[in-house]
Subunit: 370 residues, 2 copies
């Protein structure tokens, strides 16, 4: 017995034609530790957008009910050549009710329960998910649990990674994002120093309401000076950036080095010995990362992804993180949504253009059965 | 009783005026574990050039015996603001004879012996050096030992660092440099895979004579394809680059990722899970480092400097490295010199312009008593 339902697929052809459409799909019966989840809510996170819309020309796309066809311009189309011709599902995470399970004990224990899951194809009425990655939501609603993985585990992952590396302060380049707000609450709870960068005064005010102590506004004329002061105060030489392109990381490294050089008693042509560490965990700006030779050789920049981090952290730490998320789902890890759309509504011109803008506080929630 | 002799100093004023001049200097008596070395030979390494000449306009400088005055253009002058007004010595390493020592046992054991040392002011007739960093040269000449620290320990450091990180292959972006040749010999001796990048056919030929197995010429039309093949063959996802500016590291990361993606059975928008690691250990190109979003998130780029590495490696490993250098000083770790100049001769227009060009195989040796 297999199950049928609507599912979103995204296909990029080699000529740059992107087709995103809702189709009738058949879901095989779950086996082993798989569960079949009737999906009730799935967020559109920045990390979903690359595959969902990417750099497509949304203004001039061809929209019809449950479908749009757009063109992905160069160089973005060629950069995506690995997916040319592939029909891909989308949606990292979501929540719903387990309606069938495989024979595995982990799976059977979830039968009939509401869970959050990370199927990778959450924009769908049904999903096959790994029971080991499901979080039973108990009395919480599907909407409460829909965003319980990507942002909460990423924000917690930053703090865990910092602790592993012996750091007790973090810098975050997009402080006011949904993830940034969670990070602000976590750092406050754990006594971890946090330097938040924002772009606007109202974002700074929002973070200060959450108890943030070091908020620096990049629109201020004396931004670099304030950034140095904040880094110095918090002793934050370790940070995370989802922008990727441009000079954000470069500015942060410069400020960190300026603080360190200010404490040196003797000139060194090689710069300070202060170790400076940054991670790029997203690509909100798909331009090149620019690193100027302005901060010696004591720096390290890495890409950062949630799943490889969780794998390296191991099951004990991951279990502790998930437990903490569940216990604080509607407080520390709460997400808010601007709008709820079903699968067809998420492919209208108005919706696609709106959620691709990724404005702070304007996240969309997909509710496939609405 | 103090000693007097000639010494080179380099001073950059805030207006960009760079004065490099030989002066009469007084050297205090060594104390504790210090030794006073009568310097007989000191190489001009790329790492010495930044402080010695930097980006100064050497064509239009004012040359007089034992002195030149040049202008450092922007943005290089402002980037060097930390040294404005400071009169600095120069010359990382050299070799000579110990003529006086402090009271420390380590120092006293070196009295009268020929040693290699790392005083940081080697362009001088005398140097105060730390006995612990001196390498007794026994029957070797000062010229044999002059370059026994910076290049040999850096090349060995790459291999030690790779081993610490569980790697058995290295990529080096300037294969034919003096350091690159040493690295080729070391990797061959140690059974470490090595991918060498070069810019010219004669450099490739030189390395192949040394037994290099993977040499890729960036002037070839099919460079990227050959680079991928070499990385794949050697399984080299870990490398070192002294160029720094531009897209060298970017090209290497792209090739590494291309090799890894070629082995994947399923598309991932996040790229491969293959960890890719590069280190920038110099700034032959002082432009910005450009990193395009073309290789997922599984990459790490760091600055790399010899002294912090040695400090983290600890005395046992450093001792083993130094012993290996001494035992193979005229073979594995041999340096060759294009020209020998005394302190005055090293400040002539012809010499300065020639050694700043840093051409492969054209290293200068300063012989202060010639």
């Amino acid at each position: 017995m297999s199950t049928t339902g609507k599912q979103l697929f995204t296909t990029l052809e080699s000529d740059g034609t992107l087709t995103v459409a809702i189709e009738d799909a058949t879901f095989p019966d779950p086996v082993g530790d798989q569960v079949l989840v009737r999906m009730e809510a799935a967020p559109i996170n920045p990390s979903d957008l690359a595959i969902l819309v990417g750099a497509a020309d949304l203004e001039n796309a061809d929209y019809s009910p449950g479908k749009y066809v757009a063109t992905v311009p160069e160089p973005f189309n060629s950069a995506s050549r690995a997916r040319h011709g592939l029909k891909l599902p989308a949606g990292n995470e979501g929540a719903g009710t387990v309606v069938a399970t495989g024979d595995g004990d982990k799976a059977k224990a979830l039968m009939g329960r509401r869970v959050a899951c990370v199927p990778g194809h959450a924009y769908s009425q049904y999903c096959l998910a790994d029971a080991g990655m499901c979080l039973p939501l108990d009395d919480h609603s599907a909407e409460d649990g829909a965003s319980s993985f990507v942002n909460p585990m990423t924000a917690l992952g930053f703090v865990e990674n910092a602790k592993m590396d012996g750091q007790d302060a973090i810098l975050h380049t997009v402080g006011a994002s949904n993830l940034g707000q969670m990070l602000t609450r976590i750092c406050r709870e754990d006594g971890i120093g946090l330097v938040n960068l924002v772009r606007k005064a109202d974002q700074a005010a929002l973070l200060e309401q959450l108890g943030a102590t070091h908020v620096v506004n990049s629109s201020d004329d004396d931004f670099m000076q304030r950034l140095c002061t904040a880094i110095d105060d918090a002793e934050a030489f370790y940070g995370f950036d989802p922008i990727g392109g441009g000079k954000t990381v470069d500015s942060v490294f410069k400020a960190m080095e300026q603080v360190a050089v200010g404490k040196m008693t003797e000139y060194s042509r090689y710069g300070s010995n202060q170790k400076k560490r940054m991670f790029i965990y997203g690509r909100l700006d798909t331009g090149a990362t620019i690193l100027t030779p302005s901060y010696g050789f004591g720096w390290t920049l890495s890409g950062w992804l949630l799943f490889p981090f969780l794998q390296s952290a191991g099951p004990e730490i991951v279990g502790r993180m998930r437990k903490r998320v569940l216990e604080n789902l509607t407080t520390t890890f709460a997400s808010t949504y601007k709008k709820r759309v079903d699968l067809e509504e998420m492919l209208t011109k108005e919706a696609v253009i709106d959620y691709r803008a990724m404005k702070t506080g304007e996240k969309y929630l997909v509710t496939p059965w609405k």
